[in-house]
Amino acid sequence: MSFHKRNEKKGLSLPGLIDIIFLLLIFSLVTLSISEAKVETKRRGDRGVEFDLPESRTKDTEEVDRLLQTLLFQIDYLDPKNKSGPKAVWVLKPSLHDSLSLEGARLIAQRDSLYRPFPGNFLELSDREFRRSPACQIIRESIREYKDQNFFKPDLSNAIEVRAIKDTEFRIVNYILELCSAYGDTIPRVVLRTLTAKEAVGGI
């Protein structure tokens, strides 16, 4: 009596292969996150000794970039939902110990009415009319007031910041540049804050 030989296919089974790839992927992901955590620990100078460090009770510490360090003009749409509406300027003033966040300062500016809309047709206005608009007036007065209180002599570190949405017209930024320029080396620089995509994690 002859037995039938089973013909078993030799080769890689696809489900097995996919499972292996899947496991490898998870393994590499987990390893990557662990190695990053280790690098972070090394950078902090922690060598394995545990300290009972005091903890902040607030939820998160503010990033330095998010803290207000000098007078900042935030230029945005008056109504963020209405992109065709007028733009407005908010005057954000730092607190005494530079510990005020951008969001906090924005709320204070809103509360204290430290914001003014630009006229809808401000591009068509003459220079004189533009300078007389409420938005330009509040910018001019804020710079003068801040300069009188904080910038006593020419210094390279004296700067005013502008945080504007991407499609802000150059006329607005240029007006702030011109105002600071009038003070010569007392306000030698204006800092423009622009949004860029965050660089990938990994650069140590």
Binding site: P15, I21, L123, T168, T194, L195
Partner: protein
């Protein structure tokens, strides 16, 4: 005679397809988290407040409404001289207008050409710490300010910080209607001779 009923195949989910789907979903969520929702970061760019000193800039970059750029550097002087010799028979006013229109039509460049020129400039500045450049960027009032940011980002990262810049408002029409464009040889703060562009409005 009773017939055997054909065996019904069990309805079951194909494992391979399921694993494939899980895999695709996983990749989708990973990409979604790490790439698409990549958070935006604020970058601070220092802009020196401009001093409108005549004849201070070696390079003038003027934005034009239609996305193009008018570029002027020290080679302007030779070009203007050549044109003045060629059209010497014209009256003074007509000669000035002719020279300006030729100058503008020859020196209007596209954004990609601007990038090439800026890269070459930054390379030159990085190779020689003893030369310095001052670039004047002129932008019309109604253009978005991020156009100048793109330029400043490129020129502010030089190794020796020898490319300086300033921004002012202004249009190409201002240059078209100017009284005179010329290059003047001046000495900078360190006493070095430098060719600067001078525009008299």
């Amino acid at each position: 005679m009773a017939f055997k009923e054909p065996k019904r195949q069990k309805e079951r989910i194909e494992l391979i397809s399921m694993v494939d789907m899980i895999f695709i979903l996983l990749v989708f969520f990973l990409v979604n988290n790490f790439v698409i929702k990549m958070p935006l970061q604020e970058r601070s760019l220092y802009i020196p407040t401009p001093k409108n000193e005549l004849g201070r800039a070696q390079i003038v970059i003027q934005f034009v409404e239609n996305g193009q750029i008018f570029w002027m550097d020290e080679s302007v002087s030779e070009f203007v001289n050549q044109l003045e010799e060629s059209y010497g028979y014209l009256s003074e006013d007509r000669l000035r207008r002719k020279v300006l229109s030729e100058l503008i039509s020859r020196n209007i460049i596209s954004p990609s050409e601007l990038d090439t020129k800026l890269e070459a400039l930054v390379t030159r500045a990085n190779n020689d710490p003893y030369i310095s450049y001052f670039i004047l960027i002129r932008c019309p009032n109604d253009l978005p300010y991020h156009r100048i940011i793109n330029i400043i980002t490129k020129i502010s990262d030089t190794n020796y910080r020898n490319v300086k810049y300033g921004c002012v408002g202004g249009t190409l029409e201002d240059i078209q209607n100017c009284k005179c464009i010329s290059t003047v040889v001046e000495r900078d703060t360190k006493g070095r001779r430098r060719k600067n562009i001078r525009i008299d409005f």
